[in-house]
Symmetry: C2
């Protein structure tokens, strides 16, 4: 049966919803695909559900092709397994916790590594049972601080999460590759551009980790790529440390007056004016060592200050800092922090001490001091002398100061060399649409998942975790396929194959449209039929553009001459076609 717009539970809106920041959110609400129920929580109307089911069907097919079996876990899970892996605590405010009537603790699962691990432990005990890949398509929950952008970052969302179980590293590599290949096929079928980038293995504590990013200006992830094939999430980008240089021939450091130079720019100006470089070249920001005070808040709420030293031409990238200091939260130190530490002379902080090469700042203030990898042994810098209006010039790393360690918190800049030597990188923005991850043995070890190997020896299983955000992907497709008039679905996921519009109220036109719809149905097309008798052609066309079925057939007055119009939603081109040929013409587009 065709779906008749006169009956379909939908209402299109002329106005953008007030809370919609991005096109997908705006259009999915306006075209009647979804409706907001709470921040980051949506109901699905029939149109939205149809698109979602098509995406899910493609994912299921490719999971089956990858040899993964479908299971289904509850969203409501007990605290205990997440306690064992520390994630009950590690997730901080990021998850929904609740108690049952007996006071037992539960969570709404944000991801399911623990319970998949336990289920395999429950069922399997031998290497012969492996490899195993299992997955689910299931609703997940995260208590996002700023649920925004509609389905792009919801608090209730649907994911396909798969997990692989192997007893050898080589097996894990194969299982990983099978999922990775499946993801490539899925995104190809969905018509979604993607870049596979190295990701930070981070708090999940695994080894290999890659994200599938869809390049888009509204993406919340920044990634870098080189012409030579390197691609990484900025969080995963690793700086090539320059080689150490000898400092035998370098002149000693010298403390000089630099009045009113609390910023890098004022410092560079004053340095060039009052203390020009002996070789005549101008000082630049890259010659200065900027020492930034960061405040780290651990999960238990304790606050620690840390000073990071980095070349003055770069800022701290807080996302990279979050990864470097995970699971602590990171922010710039506040005025209150400085007041508690009078040893930190704001604007003039530096690792210099009269005592020579000691542990930089910590020896004076007790605060950890970490360095950007670019501050290699033998490099010389202009940096704060821990006294108002004074900087030290020619302070040499390794000779005049040391640090507590190296840290990657400096922003990545276009032109930075890719760590694999494949040339300079460029920066772009993307939206994460998939993630493949070698978890290794972390979860299996924590939860005791072992099997007997060929020699009858118990070995710990090694795991992979593979996620695709189903509802997010739907939004990303909408984001990538729209214009000022509405959505334009790729055919594979369009809610209908063809949208037939009866453009006038005349009975002959309606009858012809009904007949055409029946022919489409006979040819197994899924048809949306705008049969609304009292709606003007203009409104019908507007709704058709908003709803975004890519192929529209207009049955209008031309019917008297046996003609209809075939309207390509994407190009906007309307082509007259004989009514006898239109079904074949639409089939030919597929």
């Amino acid at each position: 049966m065709p779906t008749r717009l006169s009956q379909l539970f939908v209402r299109t809106l002329r106005e953008d919803p007030a809370d919609a920041e991005v096109a997908s959110h705006r259009l999915l609400v306006r075209a009647g695909y979804i409706r907001r129920q709470a921040p980051g929580v949506f109901a699905w109307l029939p149109l939205g559900l149809k698109v979602r089911r098509k995406i899910e069907a493609i994912i299921r097919e490719e999971m089956a092709n990858a040899g993964a079996q479908e299971v289904h876990f509850p969203a409501l899970l007990p605290r205990e397994p997440y306690e064992v892996t520390n994630r009950w605590t590690d997730y901080g405010d990021g998850i929904f916790r609740l108690k049952d009537r007996k006071g037992a603790d539960y969570l709404l699962a944000p991801t399911h590594e623990e319970v998949f691990t336990l289920l395999v432990k429950d069922l399997y005990s031998s290497y012969k049972d492996l490899p195993l890949s299992i997955y689910q398509i299931q609703d997940k929950y995260r208590d996002e601080a700023r649920p925004r952008a509609g389905l792009l970052r919801g608090r209730e969302f649907t994911m396909k999460d798969a997990y692989s179980f192997d007893y050898t590293d080589a097996g894990l590599d194969e299982s990983y590759q099978r999922q990775r290949d499946a993801y490539e096929r899925i995104f190809a079928r969905l018509g979604l551009d993607y870049v596979i980038v190295e990701a930070d293995a981070g708090a999940m504590g695994g080894s290999r980790s890659e994200e599938f990013l869809h390049p888009t200006p509204v993406g919340e992830d920044t990634f870098v790529r080189s012409n030579g094939g390197y691609a990484a999430n900025v969080e995963a980008f690793r700086t090539i440390a320059p080689e150490s240089r000898s400092y035998e021939k370098l002149t000693p450091a010298e403390v000089l007056d630099t009045p009113n130079t609390p910023t890098i720019q004022t410092l560079v100006d004053v340095a060039n004016e009052k203390h020009p470089r002996p070789d005549g070249r101008a000082w630049t920001a890259a010659d200065t060592l900027k020492n930034i005070v960061l405040a780290l808040t651990a999960l238990d709420g304790t606050r620690e200050l840390v000073v990071v030293g980095l070349p003055g031409d770069r800022d701290v990238d807080l996302k990279r800092a979050e990864v470097a200091f995970a699971p602590a939260e990171v922010e710039a130190a506040t005025e209150a922090d400085f007041q508690k530490h009078p040893g930190l002379v704001k604007g003039y902080i530096g690792p210099w001490t009269a005592a020579g090469p000691v542990l930089g700042i910590r020896s004076e203030t007790g605060i950890r001091f970490l360095l950007d990898p670019r501050v290699s042994d033998g490099s010389g810098w202009i940096t704060g002398a821990n006294e108002h209006g004074k900087h030290v010039f020619g302070l040499v790393a390794g000779r005049d100061f040391e640090a507590d360690g190296v840290v990657e918190v400096a922003e990545v800049l276009a032109g930075d060399p890719a760590p694999d030597g494949s040339g300079p990188v460029e920066l772009a923005r993307g939206m994460e649409i998939g993630h493949v991850f070698q978890l290794g043995r972390k979860y299996a070890e924590a939860l005791g998942l072992k099997v007997l190997d060929e020699n009858g020896k118990l070995v710990t299983v090694t795991m992979g975790s593979y996620g695709i955000g189903v509802t997010r992907i739907l939004a990303v497709i909408a984001e990538a396929n729209n214009d000022s008039r509405g959505l334009i679905w790729p055919r594979n996921v369009s809610p209908f194959d063809v949208h037939v519009v009866a453009a006038t109220k005349e009975p002959e036109v309606h009858a012809a449209a009904e007949k055409l719809v029946a022919e489409f149905e006979d040819a197994r097309f899924d048809v949306l039929f705008d049969d609304r008798p009292k709606v003007s052609p203009g409104v019908k066309f507007g709704d058709a553009e908003l709803i975004g079925v890519p192929v529209i057939v207009i049955v209008g007055k031309g019917i008297a001459e046996g003609r209809v119009e075939l309207w390509d939603r994407r190009t906007g081109v309307k082509t007259p076609v004989g009514i006898g040929e239109v079904v074949d013409a639409v089939a030919a587009l597929a």
Copy 2:
């Protein structure tokens, strides 16, 4: 591709799980369909998920046939809509409540009347948009006090819940009938016996309400039915009150000594011995008026006592009492309650007062006194005289005492007359598998869902609510279809069409089985193939019986003579069939 048991994520168990009380729970766990994650919370293995999807597909088809459109709501919903209808409070401990990081209140929805109502209000505004029926298949949550019996009463469970919207009562009747018809088709296709019984409209506050009960001894609902076609949940059974009788000729009541008669039986014995009935017949329990003290706990925690008077041959049915006093919780009064009310002489309570026809017990104790409908005006009783060892004989309702009202809390007994005059009822147990309910205008009124009618006047919409427990139905089917060896699925919902067992390890047998499996696949059968090379035939047969695919084909040594065995799981009969005929033979069974 066939599903190979060597690859399938499953493990059958020889032992019953310790916590399983009923066959469906025991067998679904042992056969590897589900696994417990927490009390009343289960994970679904591939076998279980396949059966579930088949049930869902049948429901979806019949919903489409009934003109209902599918939508999907979140499980996580904000408090506000449930506050408007009082259900946030009314649900008591029965729901899961939680807070987000900002402290806002949420619940895991146990049912979705409120948000469906609000969604229709959001989208629709005219009578022309109606009738509308929309539904979802979605996970719901109830914090059951005693989650038990596996999927039969879970805390996370999947339901199909549909809602109809009309602007006339006649429209609601039609929408209700369409869903009711769909339910009949669904249960017929699922091969599930059912009885449609009148249900109590109860706390939901609607008018017509019927339950589909599957008759089963493990059912938690008791229902009654007459040969004449009456059927009702005991909660909904209404007693026919006898007509009032004149008490002009009745003798006056008399207080008599009845030492040591705190129970009905001791009272009847002593009465017959010491105070025989003038007409010579023996006194029976039905001649006594039993006055039971119940304690009602309101949602706000306040506790009230109430005395109910009923014929001494009947007990109070607490489930009927829960309905009568909803939403309060009901229990028998405790020793502490009696101690607080010395006016209640335990074992000798009665409405008799020396003052004559006053408000029974309340005038003496301040406690409300309610009567069973059988205690009609003019009926005479032996009942307590509010003094140890004394009862009053010939106390006549209406003449000697009055009550605060009538209440239906007495148990229904086999032989009681059906209220529609269709004869005596019998009692049976059943499991609720569906519920259709005319909500009327309660939700629409509370949430302001109105539409403009033909005359441009705003009218409140009238609604129906229609639920089927998807996961519960799966368990009920399992409960109705098993034997001591395992499950026996009806073909419509069996996880596979046919289960092929390669019964020996010989290569020729394996090769023949592989070939047969390929033929079944070509004929579009969904095949489970037990290809496990190192498993004995006995274990394979045991697993086949446990898993319960109704048609099993055994490929064994008979293959040398071109024969296989067709094994009917339900009858246990094994029939030799030529290998060339077996695909057709299996097809013929369908």
